[in-house]
């Protein structure tokens, strides 16, 4: 099967996830969308809705629990920050969503269309089944013909309407000279309806109208489940994209104006406040600060940025406000260029043939040959054209892939629903199958195994006065190291020293006066210390005394140790490959007990390492979050990124962890393996039914009743088996 001409399943796991980039539609005034990842019950709905409705200016707030979102109608002067603050007070985590990005998922017209066809097929099937029962229980002659004619009147329009999705897919497959599952399905439905109509007109004994309808019904059911799983994943993926509201603060004649990024022009000046992501590629014009590039390069240490420094979209500004002259925005940023490269790399993985495709490839020609063989055999044996055609068609109907059509979607729906409730989002349809095959797991460090937020080390080793001074100075800064220091000191009961004239020197540190002396907390070079020391550290200098070093390590992501234990328990080899310094990588690897680790890896090294592992015959799961991981994520057999990852990394990965916790990795693997096992079992069940049904059909004993029974029982068994999924 060619890569390009696969409209339905594998055509693009990437476009399922690729967030659309609309030209930032003008927002409807007063319509706000919030993401509420923490809500789960009636009490939450009530608290959130009551809390929001009680705010002055809010007209209506409506929670959607399925999507974990709230839509709020409010006056134009109400901002999302107000609502988020209120929800925070009530104890709910909330994030603003970009309504422009989210709008596409609000109406799921394709899903409703399928549901409509499913309902018509179901209604028609029940009525025709009732009429058929009369025939099966012995209606004769005129009564039987009447029943058949009424059935035809219901079934033909119903099939023409309901089975359209199959016909359309089959036609497009045939016009590309391929066979897919929809070809035998359409053929069986059309032949069953046509042959039954002919038999009815000839007052024949057997009409398969009910079979044509129940085939349509069950298969549409499978199709709908499939669609729903995908739609949930798509809307959640878009939600992640919408979390990054594409706005920038633009300088217009000295005034700060909030502008959508799409409306920025090259040469505009934007202000990047401390703590904010840089929205564009550009050159710093005014201001000094430190920039956290962990997401782009994996470096855990911030770098200095001053006038004429280049900054890139996706980097985080830490300490001082910067005015940046825009050199590239939106699709032209380095961030997007790299993401585009990843999209190309993705197509390589699209060649993975899913279990369903493999089954269809073996199955479709098989049944057609079988039907032809039945026709030829009976033609030779009896010479009766009508009889031979009837038997051939009965064979096609009875072998129609009812159970096969349900085998995969029923299991995937059960599995992805289960994982979604645990905060795991499957973006790719074949992610579960591929995840089940892995034997090696490669982790990135910064932002994946660690949170990228520093944690103070060896607090007790320092003199109390130093700590008290450092804590006082750190309290005046929003730099991550300073905040970690202040937090750790406060937790240890250190009372900050009484300092005066405290001021932050952006890009360098904090300075103050204490007892007539100048005290400084900040970069090594600023306080006159040896800058060569490795690892995240900040320095304290009192007067002209030699500076004191404070060490930090990266805080581990919750569940990292459990996840690694679970993956090892499942028989996987665990590796750590990072772009960070040797020391930092070794420290993290030691804490987690990972023996195989590599430091200082460039993005190409990571991808190359994974390809090398593939050549050795390993199937690799890559877990990463940064732009420097995207190549590796795309190259791996299957890839996972946390929700905090950069957009490009999430696009490149098959699975996104919506919660910050890594513990679920173990569950993912277990669910993936048992889901794949269930899918195989389902194929086994479907094959077993066919093994019994085919000889009966070939021998000419197949009746509409037998077909109805075989179809229903096999479909139900397959669905029940899918529900057994742990």
């Amino acid at each position: 099967m060619s890569d390009t001409a696969r409209p339905s399943v594998a055509a693009c796991p990437a476009c399922v996830a690729t967030p659309p980039r609309p030209e930032s539609a003008p927002e409807k005034p007063g319509r706000l969308m919030l993401s509420l990842p923490g809500i789960h019950c009636a009490g939450c709905i009530a608290t959130v809705e009551k809390g929001l409705n009680a705010l002055p200016g809010v007209h209506e707030a409506r929670v959607n629990l399925t999507l974990k979102r709230a839509a709020v109608d409010a006056d134009a002067d109400i901002t999302a920050e107000d609502l988020v603050a209120e929800l925070d007070r009530l104890g709910y985590e909330a994030h603003e969503l970009d309504p422009g990005t989210i709008a596409a998922t609000e109406t799921d017209s394709a899903g409703r269309d399928l549901l409509m066809r499913l309902a018509v097929a179901g209604f028609a099937m029940m009525n025709v089944m009732l009429l058929s029962v009369a025939v099966w229980s012995g209606a004769e002659d005129a009564t039987r013909d009447l029943m058949h004619w009424i059935s035809a009147m219901i079934a033909l329009p119903a099939v023409a309407f309901s089975a359209r999705p199959f016909f359309v897919n089959a036609l497009s497959a045939l016009s590309a000279r391929r066979l897919n599952m929809d070809v035998p399905i359409s053929l069986a439905i059309i032949l069953a309806a046509g042959m039954s109509l002919y038999e009815t007109a000839m007052s024949g004994r057997h009409a398969y109208f009910d079979a044509a309808l129940s085939l349509t019904f069950f298969l549409l059911g499978g199709r709908y489940l499939d669609h729903r799983t995908r739609a949930t994943a798509r809307s959640a993926a878009q939600e992640l994209a919408a979390l990054e509201v594409p706005r920038a603060v633009k300088l217009e004649d000295g005034r700060e104006v909030v502008t959508p990024i799409a409306e920025l022009a090259i040469g505009d000046r934007v202000v990047v406040k401390p703590g904010a992501r840089v929205p564009v590629d550009g050159v710093v014009e005014v201001g000094t600060s430190e920039i956290d590039r962990a997401l782009l390069t994996g470096e855990s240490l911030p770098v200095f940025a001053g006038p004429d420094s280049d900054v890139a979209a996706g980097e985080q500004n830490l300490t001082g406000p910067l005015t940046v002259r825009v050199t590239a925005r939106g699709e032209d940023t380095r961030l997007h260029k790299i993401a585009d490269l990843v999209a190309l790399a993705e197509t390589a993985r699209n060649r993975y043939t899913s279990l369903a495709d493999r089954a269809a490839a073996a199955y479709a020609p098989g049944v057609h040959l079988l039907a032809l063989f039945a026709f030829a055999g009976w033609m030779i044996a009896s010479g009766d054209m009508r009889l031979s055609i009837n038997i051939a068609i009965a064979t096609l109907i009875i072998t129609c892939p009812c159970a096969l059509g349900l085998a995969v979607p029923a299991v995937t729906t059960a599995a992805s629903g289960r994982l979604f409730r645990k905060g795991v989002l499957l973006k790719s349809a074949t992610a579960l199958e591929r995840l089940a095959e892995i034997d090696t797991v490669v982790f990135d460090k910064t932002g994946t195994l660690t949170l990228g937020t520093p944690e103070m080390q060896g607090l007790r080793d320092h003199a109390r006065t130093d700590l008290a001074l450092a804590a006082a100075l750190a309290a005046g800064s929003s730099h991550p190291l300073a905040q970690a220091l202040a937090g750790a000191a406060a937790a240890d009961g250190v009372t900050p020293a009484d300092v005066s004239e405290i001021r932050e020197v952006p890009g360098y540190g904090v300075q103050a006066q204490w007892g007539g002396q100048r005290v400084r907390l900040g970069r090594a070079s600023w306080v006159g210390a040896e800058a060569a020391a490795e690892g995240p550290a900040t320095w304290l200098q009192v007067g002209d005394a030699p500076p004191v070093r404070f060490d930090f390590t990266d805080e581990l992501r919750p569940g990292a140790a459990e996840a690694i234990g679970a993956l090892r328990g499942a028989g996987c080899r665990v590796m750590l490959i990072s772009g960070d310094s040797d020391r930092a990588v070794a420290a993290t690897a030691d804490r987690l007990g990972i023996a195989l680790h590599e430091a200082g890896a460039l993005p190409e090294d990571k991808a190359g390492r994974i390809e090398a592992l593939h050549r050795e015959g390993h199937k690799v799961l890559m877990v990463g979050d940064g732009l420097n991981d995207t190549g590796a994520l795309a190259a791996a057999h299957v890839s996972i990124s946390p929700a905090s990852a950069l957009d490009a990394a999430r696009v490149a990965s098959d699975i996104v962890l919506l919660n910050g916790d890594l513990t679920v990795l173990g569950d993912c693997l277990v669910t993936a393996r048992s889901a794949t096992k269930r899918i195989r079992e389902n194929f086994g069940i479907a094959t077993a039914y066919n093994a019994i049904a085919i000889p009966i059909a070939l021998a000419g004993f197949a009746t509409p009743l037998a077909a109805a029974l075989a179809m229903s029982i096999s479909s139900i068994t397959v669905s029940l088996n899918a529900l057994r999924l742990r």
Partner: protein, 53 residues
């Protein structure tokens, strides 16, 4: 067998009503938030009287 002349149309009409009801529910977006609706039924807010605007 004359009874069939009544019963068959009746069964078709009843089924048709069910189908129409389903279409109506679909059109009025009653399947947008199944989880939320399942939880909302447990709430007491709306039981006494309709919520006033």
């Amino acid at each position: 067998m004359d009874v069939l002349t009544y019963l068959i149309p009746i069964s078709l009409v009843l089924g048709g009503i069910g189908l129409a009801a389903f279409f109506w529910a679909l059109k009025t977006r009653q399947f947008e938030d199944p989880d939320g609706d399942a939880q909302r039924i447990l709430r007491t807010d709306y039981d006494e009287e309709p919520k006033e605007d």
